[in-house]
Amino acid sequence: MSHSKDDEYYIKDINLTDRIKITDQYVAIVDNDTVIVADIHLGFESVLNEYGVSLPRFELHEVMEKFTKLLTDYPIKRIILNGDFKHDFSKNSDSEWNEITQFLNRILTSIDEIILVKGNHDNFLSTIAYRMGVTVVDYYDIGNITVFHGDRSTERDERIIIGHEHPSITFRDRIGAMYTMPIYLFFRSSEILVLPAFSAWTYGSDVLRYPLTSPVIRNKNIDEAEVYGIYENGIVDLTTIKNIKKLIR
């Protein structure tokens, strides 16, 4: 782990272990060339649309912008989409076909390999992915690290990278100002990493207020988890939940 104590405040990424790097771009990078992205929730707008909310479509644009930057910043060869790539539970709507096809096409022009790890929102994803020649798996191993969405339980109990939680944290200063930032949670003893959501539409849910839901970490002591926040000036080490609780009490 590296954190900066000097005055050069902007920090782009932090090495969590010798293999895993976390960044201010909502992704983890393993072995420098594999990027792991969770919870993009593509198609969120069209789902809302079906409920009568006619949002202008920003999402694909935002996601593409973030990916383009990611690909320029790091020498990436492989992308693992760690679950909930798309938002809709039930079916593939026209606009989702459209968005997902566009997305995958554009990514595939600059990347050799895309792996889709299934999430709980991805029931019908295989149909689309099949046409694009992209495989969908339940989990994926990179050496001894398992990439798994986290919505179900697994026999493994260490070295896992999950999404699903959309973790964030909210602070309030003495004036009463609220700050919400997306975070990474890292259980060091078992080397389990929880990724923030990549979606443009959420800041996530506050881990200090709401219990963790993933069976992978539900029974873990959250106080022990290390916390890394993303804000406008990069990524910041916030030590542990235990410390944070002590500080804000």
């Binding site: 009568g52 006619s54 202008p56 935002e62 004036i175 009463g176 700050y179 030590t239």
Partner: protein
């Protein structure tokens, strides 16, 4: 406004009778002695086909004035055998509970006329509101009512009913009741456009009759009622103003001389003793509070204290109560079964309430106009004096009430605020218009501009709505965004799109936003009240919030219930960004400011002399005069009395936080704008977060550093509008109002495809949506509207700007009093008021880095 004139001539009864058919004349003669003033002035004008605005006291026969000539016409038509199956008269009222009024003003007369002219039974009356069943609507289509009674919302829907709207195409008279209650909000905006859409379809422009309680300025309200001609000036209108005919007897009562040193329990018992005395010595008393929760509290205490005396004779009436409960109270009131009714705003409107001989205003109603309207509810006949008593609740209330009472006697009414060109309501109407026919873009714009509310709308904004509704605002060319209208920008045409749109319009039109409230329970499981869901979502355990005038500590939420602990002595720690409190009107605030200055000039004089002056000028009793003088004396001995050309700022140091109390007497809405702007500038100049509290008399800024006089002067050396916009960017009020605007502008549909979308889902994340809209489409009309509504309607940017620029130009001088241990008496109320908002630094960097350092040091300490 050359076409708007005032009626001067009071016609003799004979003159009025001459305009009427013998049947109506005979009926009138049998049932009434004389014509009332509005009738003497209005009926002949109406008979001559003029548009009129009638403003007169309750009980002056206003509604009958409006209807009489229409009845007359119907009688004539029946006699000639020309009565057709169509709507002749359209009556629109903001109240859904129309039945009372209609019973009295229409059905009874018709019943009585039957004795003279049996054929009158051919006249059909129909009511169309959201309670009207489809069956009844179908009946109405087969046999249209000659007189249609409806609400603004139901009218908008009727206008789009393909078949029924045809029966409206020959309407001769449109009556709009309670104009004063409609003109100042978006329900009125919505109605004004519906009227123009209807008028376009009628071959010869129908006559419009507006009915209003006391309101000012009448010219503007008249323009609102009649709309504009093609040349952009108001259509003709004659104003019948007979408000002067009813006298009011207004007095200020202070339950105690000293609000500060009298223990709270004693103030309370004195207050109820005062109320008891007033209630006992009158037949029926109507008590107005300023909030629903206060209404509940007062009823509770009255019933408790006076159990044997009249517990069963007291009722509550406010908008949160069910329709049945309200109706029961109204009926009991009418037949004289109640001794007192406590209400907030729900009995302000013209519901028939029978005989009331006293109105008590508990706490200042914050505007002279509202005071006159409320007090006007008492006094049986037109000639009986209305009696109103202002019972004050604290010392600021006392000063306010004295000034208010004096101005009420001389009828110094405040100016009404009519919202200007709301783009969300316009979006909704454009969807409605697209269902009517294919429009030329300019032709539709001409219709819209006829509404007074839209006389200032720009063509650009109008086009941006067409683009938004047609789905042109999208990031990708190949996207299937469902447009709600079809818009061909090249050929300047728009119209209907899709089969769903009509259903969408029916199910979602209207302007009143939904709120989801969560019930709050005390730790001993007692129900306390309700909080809005979106407010609860922001609470962290330990936060202190305000509910029903007292404070509670938030514990947790469970099963859609909020658990809280009563902590009456704690100060609220979280911003309460909305409030049901009535805001002090700017015009009245200016009067209070003048009063302060005149007191300040007098304070060196002998106390008895001041007292004499106050009693003579303000017609107050000795006790009230004493309390007033004591208040000012305390203020001047501790700080200074703020004057008109002085902005007094007091610095109060408290631990590691410093408070700056600004005594800006410009009314709540302008204070709201000024306080947030000032806070924003202080935040960016000093790189720290700032807390803002605001009330009617000023505002307070709380921050961790000290400000010097030059820091404060620098604040005002800026542009208020630009900075307020920036201050609002992350504020709760903009998110909330934006969501409301999304619903009104059909960006979010409350009901769609058989689903009813919950407020929770409506919220998704408006903060992110606002951020993305700003990035990709900064001119998006619905977002623009949210800013307009916050700045112009919720706040008062116009008066705030005037005040701000006076400080900038040094016409108002800043006086800073430093190092106070506690706030001055005048500053006390804003000091204890809850936080209204937190203004954040532009970037979070500083804070997060401090946080980081602290956390790291915790590890380091541990070693």
């Amino acid at each position: 406004m050359g076409k708007i004139t005032y009626a001067k001539k009071m016609c003799s009864d004979r003159e009025v009778l001459q305009t009427l058919d013998p049947v109506i004349a005979e009926w009138f003669h049998k049932n009434f002695k004389n014509f009332t003033p509005p009738q003497s002035m209005g009926i002949k004008l109406i008979a001559n086909g003029k548009n009129v605005l009638i403003t007169s006291p309750t009980g002056s026969g206003k509604t009958l004035t409006a209807f009489l000539y229409s009845l007359n016409n119907l009688v004539k038509l029946i006699k000639k055998g020309f009565l057709e199956d169509r709507v002749y008269v359209l009556y629109i009222s903001p109240l859904k509970a129309l039945n009372n009024d209609i019973e009295r003003n229409l059905k009874m007369p018709l019943e009585e006329i039957k004795g003279i002219f049996p054929d009158i039974s051919k006249v059909r009356i129909g009511i169309r509101s959201s309670d009207t069943s489809n069956n009844e609507k179908a009946k109405m289509l087969r046999k249209p009512p000659h007189i249609l009674i409806t609400t603004p919302e139901s009218m908008a829907i009727a206008l789009n009913a393909p078949k029924f709207s045809l029966t409206l195409e020959n309407i001769e008279t449109i009556i709009i009741d309670e104009v004063h209650a409609l003109a100042e909000n978006k329900r009125g905006t919505h109605l004004s456009l519906s009227l123009e859409r209807l008028t376009r379809r009628i071959k010869s422009e129908p006559q419009r009759i507006g009915l209003s309680a006391t309101v000012h300025p009448l010219n503007e309200v008249a323009s609102f009622v009649v709309g504009l001609d093609g040349d952009g000036t108001p259509r003709n209108c004659t104003i019948v103003d007979v408000n002067y005919t009813k006298e009011q007897d207004i007095e200020v009562i202070s339950p105690v001389v000293d609000f500060i040193y009298t223990p709270a329990t004693e103030v309370n018992s004195m207050l109820y003793a005062t109320l008891d005395k007033l209630i006992s010595s009158h037949k029926t008393t109507l008590i107005f509070t300023n909030t629903r929760s206060a209404t509940e509290r007062v009823v509770f205490h009255l019933k408790n204290i006076f159990k044997e005396k009249y517990a069963s004779l007291i009722g509550a009436h406010h908008s949160s109560l069910s329709k049945e409960v309200r109706l029961e109270v109204e009926n009991k009131l009418k037949v004289g079964d109640l001794k007192a009714v406590v209400t907030s705003t729900s009995l302000e409107l013209g519901i028939d309430i029978g005989y009331v001989d006293l109105v008590i205003l508990l706490g200042s109603p914050k505007s002279v106009t509202r005071a006159i309207q409320r007090i006007g509810r008492s006094g049986h006949s037109l000639h009986e004096i209305s009696k109103g008593r202002l019972v004050v609740m604290d010392r600021d209330d006392l000063i306010e009430s004295i000034v208010l009472a004096k101005n009420a006697r001389t009828r110094e009414l405040e100016k009404i605020h009519i919202p200007k060109a709301p783009l969300d309501v316009l979006s909704q109407h454009i969807v409605g218009m697209s269902l009517e026919k294919k429009w030329n873009v300019k032709e539709a714009f001409e219709v819209i501009k006829r509404s007074y509310s839209y006389s200032t709308v720009s063509y650009e904004d109008y086009l941006s709505i067409l683009r938004y509704l047609s789905g042109m605002y999208t990031m990708l060319s190949d996207n299937h965004v469902y447009g709600k209208i079809w818009f061909d920008e090249k050929n300047d045409e728009f119209g209907r799109r899709g089969k769903m749109t009509r259903a969408i319009y029916y199910m979602n039109s209207g302007t009143i936003p939904d709120e989801v409230a969560m019930k709050v329970y005390n730790t001993d499981t007692k129900y306390i009240g309700k909080l809005e869901e979106e407010f609860v979502e922001k609470l962290l355990p330990g936060d202190v919030f305000v509910l029903g005038g007292t404070t509670y500590k938030f514990i947790k939420t469970a099963n859609m219930r909020v658990m809280a602990e009563h902590t009456p002595t704690s100060r609220p720690t979280v911003p309460q960004w909305f409030s049901e409190m009535l805001p002090l009107h700017y015009d009245l605030a200016v009067e209070i400011s003048k009063f302060r200055e005149s007191m300040s000039d007098m304070l060196y004089k002998d106390k008895e002399e001041i007292k004499k002056y106050l009693i003579a000028t303000y017609k107050i009793n000795e006790m009230v005069a004493d309390a007033t003088i004591t208040y000012f004396m305390e203020q001047v001995s501790y700080s200074v009395v703020p004057e008109e050309d002085m902005l007094l700022v007091e610095e109060v140091l408290e631990g590691d936080l410093n408070h700056y109390i600004f005594h800006s007497m410009v009314g709540r809405r302008a204070n709201d704008a000024i306080s947030r702007t000032a806070a924003y500038i202080i935040t960016s100049n000093n790189k720290c977060n700032v807390r803002v509290s605001v009330n009617d008399n000023g505002f307070m800024i709380t921050l961790p550093i000290k400000l010097k006089i030059n820091d404060i002067k620098k604040v005002f050396n800026t542009n208020i509008e630009d900075n307020l916009k920036k201050a609002l960017e992350n504020s709760e009020i903009i998110k909330r109002r934006f969501r409301h605007a999304c619903v009104r502008g059909f960006l979010i549909l409350k009901r769609y495809n058989g689903n009813s979308i919950s407020v929770h889902r409506q919220q998704f994340n408006s903060e992110i949506l606002i951020k993305l809209l700003k990035k990709y489409m900064p001119d998006f009309p619905i977002l623009k509207e949210a800013y307009r509504e916050v700045m112009e309607d919720a706040m008062d940017i116009d008066n705030a700007r005037i005040y701000w620029n006076k400080i900038k130009k040094n016409k108002i001088k800043i006086k800073l009093i430093k190092n106070l241990e506690v706030p001055s008496p005048f500053g006390l109320n804003v000091y204890v008021a809850g936080v209204s908002d937190i203004i954040l630094m532009n970037d979070k960097k500083e804070y997060i880095q401090q946080l980081h350092k602290k956390l790291i040091s915790m590890i380091d300490k541990k070693g």
